[in-house]
Amino acid sequence: MGLYDILFIGFIFIPVGLVTLRASHSVVEIVERYDIGCVPEPFRINKVSYIQDDSIPKNCSLSFKVPKYMKAPIYIYYQLDNYYQNHRRYVKSRSDKQLLHGQNQHGISSCQPVEVNNDRPIIPCGLIAWSLFNDTFTFIRNRAELKVNRKNIAWKSDREHKFGKNVYPFNFQNGTLIGGGKLNPRIPLSDQEDLIVWMRTSALPSFRKLYGRIEKDLDVDDVVVVHLMNNYNTYSFGGKKKLVLSTTSWLGGKNDFLGLAYVFIGSSSVTIAVVFTLLHLLSQRH
């Protein structure tokens, strides 16, 4: 082993990197931040009181132009920044048993501090469920509503094996402290895909979560208007909220880093190999 291996790595990595970059470039991504724009001008000084005041209507709309042709399916994400879904206390505050088997199961002590309300267990319990994201979006193009498919946005195994088909929300968001969204108590947890997506906690404090899919192509210069309910409080901790529309390639979303890394490593390997070969030729060692 030696220089040839390095050269070999280089010759493999560069083309792979280029292919990857191509895939990444084929992805069209639109990111719109809306957390500030959606607070009416008078409330901008104290956004927290705005968001906590139920009497103020929270609807808001934003519009954007599609920069490039976007082929269906177009994935809709909401992105939260500076939101520590990976805080240990938060991550642990759930009960997988309860999610699957419902009320008759014990072992919801892990759900602290959101386990019971009025001496009755909460389903689903725990901080994660309690802080469910509840902004909603509707998309309009050319005055016509774009249908958003909100099915199959969670892992199939989660839906089938981790969230019970016979478990219904119970006693949820009934306490004095209301966190995030409410759940329809008539729909079983296995069909509450928003919850399921939310419950797969993110790894990093800045994350996207799948909201739904638009199954129609968007043309260049299409103007899309989004009507949204700006319910979720990120204002108290200075978090950002963004709406993301993105197509995907075989690679997933837009991901220049990987391709660049491949190309960079490939080309530096080749350089190193060439430099060493030259040095080797210049100073022959026996």
Binding site: I6, N86, V91, K156, R285
Partner: protein, 1243 residues
């Protein structure tokens, strides 16, 4: 048993009469008698033994232990607490114990099982190993305890009894060749005068036999029946470790007799030359002096392991540092931001996240972080190392090359702790007798009347001429083409070298004929009675007579043997070899009575064998100060002869003027014998007139009768007056037979750069001889002899002696410093008494400084304690790794003191082996043990430890980096079970395979390139720069792995279906990268692949996927968020696989580039050899010129050893050749023909 199998009869002689000087028979002076009597009954001297009444010792107050001996560390009850204590004394284990205890509280970041399980596993395996080792000790004890001895039960009946059942007061009968089961009081022996011979080699390593003698009063007890009514009471000292003292008295038949050490037979010594003895058990079991004197073998740790502790400390400080950062970070978050994070509903109940008390929370976070980053500390390192070492020892033990088919024993690694230490040895301290030599003397050469017999071509000459031949061929070939004029010298050179080679070969291969033990002499001029044709017939016969008469031996009539050949028994093996030799020459010593010696001589005049009787008039015994021995005999004609043998210098001083005829020739022979390491003795005689004898004899008898301290002096003076005016006959050379392969082994070890010191209890002459025989010394070496001058010694003033020694040391050191030629070798010979002074506080440093600068050091007449002391001082002073090798109990101290103790197991004694860390059947196996196994193990363990550090840093730091992104809340990126699997399953097997099977080069090449061994002493594989380098490598890998993963996987979708990576996907992906990286890294380190390595490395990676699959398939109750993570989450994403490839390549690239640079520009020895091996694999490598050259280069230029001697010889040959060449050249150029050619008109 011995006596039973071969019945030997022996003329009953009062041995005591033969010895005029025997000091041990000196009766106690009245003063001492009084002192002894006063001591008895005092504290420390209160023991009472009722002989032949062992039942009295079953109850108090005379209850003494059984003769049961236990050397085990634990027993059934103490095992658990003690072994556990030992385990948790290790810092790392204690840390994990604390972590496990913390895991019982909610504070811990991991589940309980994942913290406790590995600890139990690790500690369990270590304890299991302890238990197995102790079990082996127990079995060994069992073996000793179950030996049997004939014990008196009642009415004079003796039955076999187990050693362990023996009690104080028992009367036992020990037969010839048996060990004493406990400390015995000698009652009587098979010899009439109650004398017995004891071999104490196991106690003090001295090979000469000790004489013990019973009290006159108990002489009568020499039959089994006598003991039916025997009763006596012994009052004596309490058990103590002092081997040379014994105070007590015995009340027997209403009389009290004082006892002295000469009546005490010590356990572990052996009965020799005496058919049987009767004795009574005085001290049993753990009370015996030998057991009391032995020290528990200290637990030794290798250098690497000690350095490993420092690495653990570094990792601990890393751990504390990152924990501090974490806790400080969490403090900041708690103070500033976290209050606003409504989704956490703070404050926490368990106070870890309490914004109102941030400092307290930070403190708790610190503890949590300590546990969380525990993966920086390689928990399985110790246990893996232990497993690896056990496997390594199995490989060593099973090495067929280390099997001795003579003794059917193999090398045994008795402790597995020191395998890698074998690769770092710089200094070998070796015992002589039984280690280098077989303790067997062989008659090799003699010089009679100025003629040397027995061949004169030595192996050194042979090797030198062979090497020169090899060197000349290419050299001359090149000259051949360039200059035709040199062609004429070619035949001459060839003839010289090939002549000596052929000559040597012819002489050396001529070794047909029956092999006689102790006689290795081939010269047709003397054997087969051919000596009768010699010129100086009288001198030759006298020479043989001295050989046959001047000794203390006795013939053994052995029924199994042919009647015409006798075997002999004598005080020293040299004498035996003389007797055998004289028998071969036709002077058979066949009988000895009290005053008569009978020889069966070959009479040259009648050509027949005749029996001649010689009256033994006096025997002047050998002592180390006299260095000679004489007998005065009268032959059948009444002529009185004094026959003398002794050290050459002593004899030459006492020659008569007319006795120096052969002095010059003999001296020459002497020096050549000595160069070969043969032990020489000069023979001389004189005839004494009857009148002269008579007058002398009266003086001598008077001196003999004197009682008191002046007796010895008088005797010496008396002998001085008769041992003079001698006539020199010649010298004999006996070989203290070296064990097989010893010189070659020493040579190889010297080439590998090891220093060898010889420590022996033997005489200076013998030690020097062996020094020559092993090529530790040679003639052109400057020797320093340190010994006390007579004046200083007689004064007995410590101060004077110190000054004397100091002066000698200083002058020698000055010579060393002044020597211009750096390659000039020095040899240091020092004796025990001088050593005692030299090792004292203030002289010590000077002495060691000198000693370290000498190529070889020989210490003679050193006591076991001194051996241990030297070892300790050398270890401390030089700081180098020392290895002590020995075979007897006298070496135990040294073996225990040295970094590595090696015992020779070929002999009977077990003490050295029991105390040793490795036992070899023979010395020569040391070569392979060190150069091959030591080198390998050193490499293996260092690579292994470094890799362990690397993989744990690479893994542990990713946990820390993740904390930076989770507001230091203590969340873990990976599932608990992934982490538990990391050290136990997923990365453990490859590293164990590396530790057991790695070879940088094959064993053949290790032996061919001994310089490779120097990597160990120089510690190139485990230097701090390497350690830091590997830690850095780990840091880089962890950074690459973590950063690449979070930047690639976040925040965009990772799959075509738009799913984004959650915490579990990211965790599993990152973890996959870690597993790949660390396993590929070990594949890069490994240079010797077998299917086991492949299986373990690639199997580990595969195992990870299998684990992920299986774990993910378990119901979500169990697998939690890892449920279906591979199948549903990351497996279908091409991104996942591409990250893996990228990360593995990038994180290995730094190491890869490093080795490419190193191999191309700064190659180490092993790299070059590996490359050469690969390049020339297709051809026969050994023929390659480059191979040979590198091989030559890799042998360190040494100053000791066979090769060095050959080199020196070649140098001198070359000088001679050069001179001859020059003279021939001159004669040719001066010749008229040459002149006419050179001035011829044609040119």
């Amino acid at each position: 048993m011995v006596a039973a199998s071969s019945r030997k009869r022996k003329g009953k002689i009062r041995w005591s009469k033969l010895y005029s000087f025997a000091a041990c028979f000196r009766p106690l002076t009245s003063k001492e008698r009084l002192a002894a009597r006063e001591l008895i009954g005092q504290p420390g001297f209160s023991r009472v033994v009722f002989c032949n009444e062992p039942h009295l010792h079953k109850r108090k107050p005379y209850k003494y232990p059984y003769n049961y001996i236990s050397t085990t560390k634990y027993n059934v009850l103490t095992f658990l607490p003690r072994a556990l204590f030992e385990q948790f004394r290790r810092v790392a284990n204690f840390y994990f114990l604390l972590a496990a205890i913390f895991s019982l509280f909610s504070l811990a970041p991991f589940s309980r099982a994942s913290l406790i399980a590995p600890l139990v596993f690790v500690v369990g395996i270590s304890m299991l190993k302890e238990a197995v080792e102790d079990w082996h000790r127990f079995l060994q004890d069992l073996d000793v305890n179950n030996r049997t001895v004939k014990t008196h039960i009642s009415n004079g009946v003796f039955v076999d009894k187990l050693w362990k059942e023996l009690r104080v007061g028992d009367v036992v009968k020990v037969n010839k060749g048996e060990y004493f089961p406990s400390d015995l009081l000698l009652l009587s022996s098979g010899n009439e005068d109650g004398v017995c011979y004891v071999e104490t080699m196991n106690l003090d390593g001295e090979t000469n036999l000790k004489i013990k003698r019973c009290l006159e009063a108990s002489l009568c007890l020499n039959e089994d029946e006598e003991f039916s009514k025997f009763k006596a009471t012994v009052h004596c000292e309490d058990p103590n470790p002092n081997l040379y003292t014994f105070v007590g008295n015995i009340e027997f038949e209403k009389e009290s007799y004082p006892l002295s050490p000469s009546q005490l037979l010590l356990r572990d010594s052996k009965l020799r030359n005496t058919d049987y003895i009767y004795g009574v058990v005085i001290f049993s079991g753990h009370d015996t002096k030998a057991v009391r004197n032995s020290t528990r073998s200290p637990s030794k740790r290798s250098r690497i392991e000690r350095k490993m502790d420092h690495i653990i400390y570094i990792l601990f400080s890393m751990l504390v540092l990152v924990s501090l950062v974490s806790s400080f970070g969490s403090l900041l978050y708690l103070r500033q931001d976290m209050v606003d994070w409504w989704y956490l509903q703070l404050p926490d109940d368990n106070k870890v996240n309490d914004p109102s008390k941030p400092v307290q929370s930070a403190g708790l976070q610190f503890i949590r972080a300590l546990i969380l980053y525990g993966y920086l500390i390689p928990i399985s390192l110790y246990v893996s190392i232990e497993v690896v070492k056990v496997l390594q020892t199995m490989l060593i033990n099973k090495d067929i090359e280390l099997y001795d088919d003579v003794t059917c024993k193999s090398v045994q690694a008795r402790t597995s702790n020191l395998n890698e230490e074998l690769g770092q040895v710089e200094m070998i301290l070796s015992d002589k007798t039984g280690t280098l030599t077989c303790n067997q003397m062989e008659f090799r050469k003699c010089s009679i009347a100025g003629v040397s017999y027995g061949g004169d071509i030595t192996e050194v000459d042979l090797a030198a001429s062979m090497r020169m031949n090899a060197d000349f061929e290419p050299f001359e070939f090149s000259i051949d083409e360039t200059d035709g004029a040199t062609r004429s010298f070619e035949p001459f050179e060839f003839s010289v070298s090939s002549f000596s080679a052929q000559n040597g070969n012819a002489r050396l291969t001529k070794t047909e004929g029956p092999v006689i033990k102790g006689f290795n002499f081939r010269d047709d001029r003397l054997t087969n009675e051919n000596w009768i044709h010699g010129s100086n017939l009288f001198d030759i016969t006298m020479f043989f007579r001295v050989m046959a008469l001047c000794h203390t031996g006795i013939p053994l009539e052995d029924d199994n043997h042919k009647m015409d050949k006798l075997s002999y028994e004598a005080e020293s093996p040299e004498e035996v070899s003389f007797l055998i030799a004289s028998q071969e020459f036709g002077f058979q010593f066949c009988r000895r009575t009290q005053s008569l010696m009978v020889l069966r001589e070959f009479d040259p005049s009648s050509m027949k064998e005749v029996e001649r009787e010689y009256k033994l008039l006096n025997l002047l015994e050998f002592s180390s100060s006299r260095k000679r021995m004489s007998v005065i005999v009268s032959n059948e004609d009444g002529q009185i002869f004094l026959l003398c043998k002794g050290a050459d210098s002593i004899i030459f001083d006492r020659l008569a003027d007319n006795g120096r005829a052969y002095e010059q020739a003999t001296t020459m022979h002497l020096s050549s014998y000595a160069e070969d390491g043969l032990r020489t003795l000069a023979f001389a005689y004189r005839t004494i007139e009857a009148a002269e004898y008579e007058s002398w004899n009266t003086i001598f008898t008077q001196a003999k009768a004197t009682i008191g301290p002046e007796r010895e002096e008088l005797l010496e003076q008396a002998s001085e007056t008769i041992e003079k005016d001698l006539i020199l006959l010649g010298v004999v050379a006996v070989e203290d037979k070296l064990q097989k392969g010893v010189p070659e082994c020493i040579d190889k070890l010297a080439q590998a750069g090891l220093k060898i010191w010889l420590l022996t209890g033997d005489k200076r002459e013998t030690a020097i001889n062996i020094g020559f025989a092993c090529s530790l010394l040679r003639q052109d070496m400057k020797q320093f002899h340190l010994s006390l001058s007579r004046d200083a010694e007689s004064n007995n003033q410590v101060k004077d002696m110190k000054e004397d020694i100091l002066q000698q040391i200083e002058s020698s050191y000055k010579m060393v410093c002044e020597e211009r030629n750096k390659e000039a070798p020095f040899g240091l010979v020092i004796d025990g008494k001088a050593l005692e002074i030299a090792l004292r506080g203030d002289v010590k440093d000077e002495f060691l400084q000198l000693a370290v600068n000498c190529a070889s050091v020989i210490c003679c007449r050193v006591s076991p304690k001194q051996k241990a002391l030297i070892t300790r001082l050398v270890k401390q002073y030089t700081g180098k790794t020392t290895l002590a090798i020995g075979d007897g109990a006298n070496d135990v101290g040294m073996i225990q003191e040295a970094d590595i103790g090696v015992g020779i197991s070929g002999m009977e004694g077990m003490q050295a082996v029991m105390a040793s860390d490795f036992s070899l059947p023979q010395f020569r196996f040391l070569e392979r043990l060190l150069i091959v196994h030591g080198h390998w193990c050193y490499q293996r363990i260092s690579k292994m430890v470094l890799y362990f550090v690397y993989k744990n840093v690479a893994f542990g730091l990713t946990l820390f980096y993740y904390e930076l992104y989770t507001s230091f809340s203590g969340e873990v990126l990976y599932d608990d079970w992934y982490m538990t699997m990391f050290n136990v399953m997923l990365t453990s097997l490859p590293v164990i395979a590396l530790g057991v099977l790695e070879q940088d080069v094959s064993s053949d090449i290790c032996l061919q390139f001994p310089a490779l061994y120097q990597q160990g002493p120089r510690n190139v594989h485990f230097s701090w720069s390497r350690i830091i380098g590997w830690i850095l490598n780990g840091v880089v890998s962890s950074l690459v792995i973590f950063l690449a993963n979070i930047y690639i996987l976040s925040p965009t979708a990772m799959r075509e279906n738009g799913f984004v990576a959650d915490i579990d996907s990211l965790g599993a992906t990152t973890y996959t990268c870690i597993i790949w990286t660390v396993n590929c890294q070990i594949a890069l380190i490994t240079s010797h692949f077998t299917w086991i390595q492949h299986l373990s490395i690639w199997g580990s990676i595969l195992l990870w996927y299998i684990f992920l699959l299986v774990y993910g398939a378990l119901p979500p109750n169990f697998s939690g968020n890892a449920f279906q993570v591979l199948v549903e989450g990351i497996g279908p994403a091409p991104l996942y696989w591409m990250i893996t490839v990228l990360v593995v390549v990038v994180s290995l690239l730094p190491y890869f580039i490093h080795i490419v640079i190193q191999r191309s520009y700064f190659p180490m020895d092993d790299h070059i050899i590996q490359e050469m091996e690969q390049c020339y694999k297709k051809y026969d490598v050994r023929d390659n010129e480059m191979w040979v050259r590198e091989q030559r280069n890799s042998q360190r230029s040494t100053r000791i050893g066979f090769s060095a001697r050959v080199d020196a010889k070649i140098l001198s040959f070359n000088q001679q050749l050069q001179q001859k060449k020059l003279s021939i050249y001159r004669s040719v150029t001066n010749s008229p023909i040459y002149r006419s050619i050179t001035t011829s008109p044609f040119s």
